[in-house]
């Protein structure tokens, strides 16, 4: 009987790969892996041989050729003689611009709507429910088109600002809302403006330092310092003082009618606004549901316990509910950010030149290098999605439940 408990180790036989439960799963996983590799290899070889049959190959040489087309929104220097690679980079930056703006605004909409959905006020609660259901259940492409159409159809064209008896006029002589986008004053950075910016950054650090000091004082001595107005003072007063001491180095460039369009200032194009707003309001509806779910996941006993300690409702929300709710909210929030970034590839519907519009649109079309362009596009979206996940996971790790 003793021999049964201690089997001989040396005698490994091939049949054990199938009949021995210790090895069987590995055997089948190995076979599955081989089959998968074989399939991928076949698809790759098939692609290359079919391309060769059409007399084509895979080559990325076209990226250094002049692009030959113009892009309206250029965050970096670009003209029609720049390379296709540079056009792609312009597209990438444009994608990132709309993704960052969209994520920030969607979070704002989502958190607001999510909290208000739990409001004791019946009207507010129902209004937010209507917002969530209406925006969540209509495809985002439709929302992009609706907002773009409203922008072009209802806003005045720059021509209508012309003349003494113009149909339209600028807001405060500084903002022009046209069907080509919104023109706002742009800052002009004069000499010494760096000092002002540095002062402002230092003030932000100062606010954080003050708040930490006040918290520590509260814990150590029980003295409660005011938070609101000293933060505001620290934030703005030094910067404003420096700004005037240095003789107003930062001025504003106001948009003005010139030729066919407004000139000067910052031009926020209608396509960007439509895409940004549609993505934000659509994704915001999903985030609102995440936030509501997160808050409702915190048991009611927590609220009651906090209230019995004498905390006011606002503090209960900020100090007790939200820190616990965030643990539930953050993971689905990451995937909403990813969705928003990927949905931004619908930009071409309104002519916003994101990376799908430049690399995957015009470059692909003018060079005919479809496979190369699409591969690069996939690689870009994969990279950016993984990067967002990585950053958000770091944040998630800092707030998630620490088990001791």
């Amino acid at each position: 009987m003793t021999t049964m408990t201690d089997p001989p180790k040396a005698s490994f036989q091939l049949s054990m790969l199938i009949y021995d439960t210790r090895y069987r799963s590995y055997t089948f996983q190995f076979i599955a892996l081989m089959l998968l590799l074989l399939l991928l290899g076949y698809l790759g070889a098939n692609l290359v041989s079919n391309l060769a049959a059409q007399g084509q190959n895979i080559s990325f040489g076209f990226l250094s050729d002049p692009a030959g087309y113009d892009i309206n929104q250029r965050p970096i220097e670009y003209d029609s003689q720049s390379s296709h690679m540079r056009a792609s980079v312009v597209g990438v930056i444009n994608t990132l611009i709309v993704a960052v703006l969209g994520c920030a605004t969607a979070t704002l909409f989502g958190v607001t709507a999510g909290i208000l959905r739990l409001s004791p006020n019946w009207l507010v609660r129902k209004l937010m429910a209507v917002y969530v259901e209406a925006f969540r259940n209509v495809p985002v492409l439709i929302w992009i088109l609706i907002i773009a159409t409203i922008m072009t159809a209802s806003m005045p064209s720059p021509n209508q600002f012309r003349g003494d008896n113009a149909d339209a006029s600028m807001l405060l002589d500084a903002f022009a809302f046209t069907n080509r986008g919104v023109y706002v004053p742009a800052p002009v950075w004069g000499a010494g403006s760096l000092v002002v910016v540095l002062t402002f950054l230092a003030s932000i650090a100062g606010v954080f330092y003050y708040r930490r000091y006040a918290t520590k004082l509260l814990y150590d001595t029980g003295r409660l310092l005011p938070m609101g107005w000293p933060s505001l003072v620290i934030l703005f007063v030094p910067t404003i003082l420096i700004f005037f001491v240095l003789g107003q180095p930062i001025t504003l460039d106001y948009p003005a009618l010139k030729g066919f369009n407004f000139d000067g200032g910052l031009h926020i194009r209608g396509s960007l606004i439509a895409l940004w707003f549609a993505l934000a309001i659509y994704t915001g509806a999903f985030i609102a549901e995440n936030v509501r779910a997160g808050i409702q996941a915190v048991s009611k006993g927590q609220t009651e316990a906090a209230a019995s300690l004498g905390l006011r409702p606002k503090r209960i929300m900020n100090l007790v509910i939200l820190p616990q709710a965030l643990r539930v909210i953050i993971p689905p929030l990451i995937s909403q950010y990813l969705n928003l970034t990927k949905n931004s590839s619908l930009a071409i519907a309104v002519g916003y030149m994101d990376v799908t519009g430049t690399l995957g649109g015009i470059t692909l079309n003018q060079t005919g290098r479809a496979i190369e362009c699409v591969l690069m596009l996939m690689l870009f979206y994969l990279t950016i999605s993984l990067a967002i996940s990585a950053v958000m996971n770091v944040y998630n790790n800092t707030i998630k439940l620490k088990e001791r």
């Binding site: 041989s49 649109g361 015009i362 005919g368």
Partner: protein
């Protein structure tokens, strides 16, 4: 061993697929339908009428080829393509030919591996502006917002034109002609640019066409023509000579009205006889029967008739023949001899 057999079988299957793609004529005959790529809708060139039947200048070429090959001008599956999807559709074999006011360029002919079989419309890129804008020349468009269809040669011409004249502009890329029309009419762009024929066609669809003018500058050469995949020369020959049969028919005076009479028996003009198959056997040389050209011309008339019916001066589009007149009448439409 078994793996090798498996791979071998796959390779053979792949090769067979490649080989069958080469003989487009057989594919079309076996299918009984010609897959023809057209625009998503450009009045006069290719657009469905009130009954959903496609008609237009480019559509007529598709119908002529279908008539020549399949003896039925209606055996055509029209595949609407955008500026972006058209080449992929043709290269992948989704369509057998593309007749979608596509400009014949060097790189499309060589690098993209297509064969342009001829030019059915000599065009050039122009600008459409509202009269109220007070512009009389494209060079006055400094700083203007320009609506442009993305994925077309016009996009590159536009960049070249403004760079050469050292003036600036703001491009508004749009996907389809309908979208461009909407943006232009809403005033979201000062001017809309595409091929002059396309502008005339677009303007014809406006509520008040007379409020808009096409600027005199034509900033590019846009020879528009049907194209096929590179590598199947037999199929390219069929499409090429079907098109030239339409052009030659106008030159020889063969019309849809007299074609029955002319083809009944051999007449005095040997070239007419050869085209209509009453003499010689040109049809056999391209793998068709002798009446192929007769059917192609009968489908919707000769080149001149197609032009006048779809985009000519009597239609709302109102294009003059100009360069597209026969070489005998001051144009550059010129069919090589049928012999």
């Amino acid at each position: 061993m078994k793996k090798t057999v498996f791979l071998g079988a796959l390779t053979v299957a792949g090769l067979a697929a490649g080989a069958s793609a080469a003989a487009t004529l057989d594919d079309v005959k076996a299918r009984g339908k010609l897959n023809c790529g057209v625009t998503t809708g450009l009045v006069g060139f290719a657009a469905p009428d009130a009954n959903g039947v496609w008609e237009g200048f480019d559509v007529a070429v598709c119908r002529a080829v279908a008539a020549a090959v399949l003896s039925d001008a209606n055996a055509v599956e029209f595949v609407p393509t955008t500026g972006k999807t058209r080449f992929t559709a043709l290269a992948s074999g989704e369509i057998d030919m593309l007749a979608r006011n596509t400009t014949w360029t060097f790189s499309r002919d060589t690098d993209l591996k297509f064969d342009f079989v001829g030019v059915n419309y000599y065009d050039g890129q122009g600008f459409l502006v509202p009269k109220s804008l007070g512009v009389s020349s494209a060079k006055e468009l400094d700083g203007a917002t320009v609506c442009i269809q993305t994925g077309t040669t016009t996009e590159l011409n536009l960049a070249d034109f403004f760079r050469a004249n050292n003036i600036s502009y703001e491009p508004v890329p749009i996907e389809t002609n309908a979208e461009g029309q909407q943006q232009y009419l809403a005033g979201a762009c000062d001017t809309y640019t595409t091929d002059a024929s396309g502008l005339a066609s677009t303007r014809a669809a406006f509520e008040s066409p007379t409020d808009h003018v096409i600027l005199p500058e034509i900033i590019s050469k846009e020879p528009l023509g049907p194209l096929v995949r590179h590598g199947d020369n037999d199929w390219a020959d069929i499409v090429r000579w079907t098109f030239y049969a339409l052009v030659a028919a106008e030159e020889m005076g063969i019309t849809s009205a007299n074609i029955g009479e002319l083809s009944a028996a051999a007449g005095d003009n040997p070239e007419i006889n050869r085209i209509l198959g009453t003499e010689g056997d040109l049809g056999a040389m391209i793998g068709l029967d002798n009446e192929w050209a007769k059917r192609a011309i009968a489908a919707s008339g000769n080149y001149g008739e197609i032009f006048e019916k779809n985009i000519g001066e009597k239609t709302p589009i109102g294009l003059a023949r100009g360069l597209n007149a026969q070489w005998t009448q001051g144009g550059i439409m010129y069919a090589p001899p049928f012999r």
